[in-house]
Symmetry: C2
Subunit: 149 residues, 2 copies
């Protein structure tokens, strides 16, 4: 798959590790930055990631910050993105089966590398369940106009 990965300064090391892991798994990876541990603002990188999901450049995204929470808020501003913050595999599984998540968010200060790899693998390998879930996912693509900026 074509996978884009982005973070903030708190998750640069986790981003590097997961980028290597994705390449090992045979995926094509676009690293959207940052390249150093200098302080940045997570919304900038979340919006950047969301835009490559929205335009189809990437099929899936990986969003990382200290907790995964801040960057997930930014990514989910975009109706093309369904970003799931997870810290264990069962949530990663349901994010795909129920929500057809196309972006996974994780917190570099909250989980370790093996948990992160396991969540990522579950996110990549689990198909969407479709059926009644498809109607709900469809509604996520069309928020009320008054709800957007």
């Amino acid at each position: 798959m074509r996978i884009a990965i982005a973070s903030d300064h708190a998750a640069v090391a986790l981003k590097a590790d997961l980028r290597e892991y994705l390449i090992e798994l045979g995926h094509e990876v676009a690293d959207l930055g940052p390249d150093s541990a200098d302080s940045v603002d997570y919304p900038d990188y979340g919006y950047k990631l969301a835009s490559v999901i929205a335009d189809g450049t990437a099929e899936r995204g990986v969003a990382l910050c200290g907790t995964g929470l801040g960057i997930s808020m930014a990514v989910n501003r975009n109706p093309a993105c369904r970003c799931a913050v997870v810290s264990e595999q069962l949530s990663a599984y349901f994010s795909r089966d129920h929500n057809d998540a196309n972006v996974i968010a994780m917190g570099a200060r909250m989980i370790g590398i093996e948990q992160a790899k396991a969540c990522l693998r579950t996110f990549l390998e689990t198909p969407f369940g479709g059926d009644r879930h498809a109607r709900r996912v469809g509604k996520l693509s069309h928020p009320p106009v008054s709800e957007t900026a």
Copy 2:
């Protein structure tokens, strides 16, 4: 505080328990539904909750579904909302200190009632850290126009 609470069918029982808990804590609670365990679509309730946060009717929100993930995606479509999916108190703490979260999302099928109450209490009691976090939170209120529906 004026707190709105909403869920899908999977989290109706947790919603009732947390509504009672919030009332015990002295808060004014608006229950946005659903009222029964009949199947509904979580985006409908997420958008409803987001709208009362956006118009100031509620100061904080509690969003519940099976995992917390689906309804959080809907709530975060609205740039007025900063919705954090949590399953333990440390994330609830950081969601306030770093992200000034105004909505907490939890999964009725993922965590038990005491964990949910503890997370909720941490969410309500933890102040926003401000400072550098304020600039980032500000950016969450202004996603790029191309990123919205």
